[in-house]
Amino acid sequence: RLAVTTSFENSGLADVLLPAIKADTGIEVQLLVVGTGQALRLGEAGDVDAILVHSKAAEEAFVSDGYGTHRRKIMFNDFVLIGPADDPSAIADADSAVDAMRRIAEQGGPFVSRGDDSGTHKAELQLWAAAGLPVDGFGPSYLSVGAGMGAALNTASGINAYILADRASWLNFGNKGDLALLFAGDPALFNQYAYLPVNPEKHPSVRNDLALQLEDWLTGETAAELINGYEINGEALFVFNAQP
């Protein structure tokens, strides 16, 4: 059993990987799609055999507290800034992600935040911090919605707001409304996914053998091909970067 974040599931990559995993290794992976925090808790409780998330600090704490055996980078994708197609804050012309955030703040939003302590939310907060803008100074135009990526995108679409999303979720998102991808490409927006097997010493019931087998597969060549080759609307989403 593997706990993954909503952004991973929403990307659709799972639908490509799971059948291949089954064909190559015979492992039937059961995906639990939850928030990052909840994924970590499922791992701590030993209810899943491994987790696949993107939130570096929390992952390191997970390993150092002994819940995970180690952390293995698998791949990364990037975050993108989404907003109303007419782009009132003109962030499409911004020269960095931080600059884009400043422009949104100046124009007065509205901006939708995941607000759920997920990897995406943490990345967003880092950007605000780098821009020197305290989040609680925005007032009502900063909407902390406390929901998954898809739900947050739905909210942004409903009120035509700016939002930080991962590229995969955005491309797969069906309810685009008047939203458009406005800014992307800044390295500050890279988003590293890591694989963490749950420590079998803490929870003898976890299938560490399968978790390791899966890790081998995920870091192997087939996975690399599939991940790098995964496209939506002709756009590659993920970059495989596991160290063999």
């Binding site: 928030g35 925090g37 808790r41 759920d116 302590d117 909407l143 406390g146 929901a147």
Partner: protein, 234 residues
């Protein structure tokens, strides 16, 4: 197990420290759900009574549909309402999406069939008892409905309380149409969902206990006010 204990502790501290945000969220929960119950009862009770009183051709079918609508999945209700209320939808101009009003509308849709169904069942018994007399007194349809509602008001309480229970604990629909926006549309259930997603189970449980306490308080208050049980049976 440790989590449940921590949850109780969290609930305790939240309550004794009069946490301002908790208050705001709880009040919003109460306000939304009570409004929904009042509106839904005003629709559902007369309708359920009408179905008990009136024989018409498709009555059985109407009752079956009403019962089936008790199973309206909240997410679907939320979704449809979202589509209708979103800016590109037909009611977009009203600007109701992500407001407490939208949440009330969603809850009304969800609990109306439940209240109507329970009300119908309660009123059927009473109608069997009153049938001959009210027919003989040459009452209008509307007088019959009013008489049944008035004389059966104690039984209708269960219907409304069931509706309240479902409303206050509901999360799927109001998450979609309310958006769980901090300081605007966040209520207890959506806050609980959020904390669960974050993995803060203790806080989530703490909020859950506050919610259960709230539901209990409302029920006891209403029971006490109506003295349903004290006055005994007819």
């Amino acid at each position: 197990m440790i989590d449940i204990w921590e949850g109780l502790q969290a609930a305790f501290w939240l309550v004794v420290t009069f946490d301002a945000e908790l208050w705001a969220i709880s009040l919003r929960s109460l306000q939304v759900s009570l409004s929904a119950v009042v509106v839904a009862s005003l629709i559902a009770i007369p309708f359920g009574t009408f179905l008990a009183v009136q024989r018409f051709r498709y009555r059985r079918l109407a009752i079956s549909i009403m019962n089936a609508l008790m199973g309206l999945p909240p997410v679907v209700v939320g979704l449809m309402l979202y589509i209708l209320l979103s800016r590109s939808g037909p009611f977009g101009v009203l600007g109701l999406l992500f407001t407490p009003t939208a949440m009330i509308i969603a809850q009304v849709i969800i609990i109306t069939p439940l209240i109507a169904s329970i009300a119908h069942q309660a009123m059927r018994e009473l109608w069997a008892e009153y049938h001959d007399l009210l027919i003989s007194l040459h009452t209008t349809k509307w007088q019959r409905i009013r008489t049944l509602i008035w004389d059966g008001r104690r039984n209708l309480l269960t219907a409304s309380l069931a509706g309240f229970g479902r409303a206050i604990g509901e999360v799927g629909a109001i998450m979609i149409v309310g958006g769980n926006i901090d300081n605007a549309t966040r209520v207890l259930t959506t806050a609980i969902a959020l904390e669960t997603g974050k993995g803060d189970f203790a806080l989530a449980l703490g909020l859950g206990f506050v919610l259960i306490g709230l539901a209990l308080a409302v029920n006891i208050a209403i029971h006490w006010l109506s003295r349903t049980e004290r006055e005994g049976r007819w």
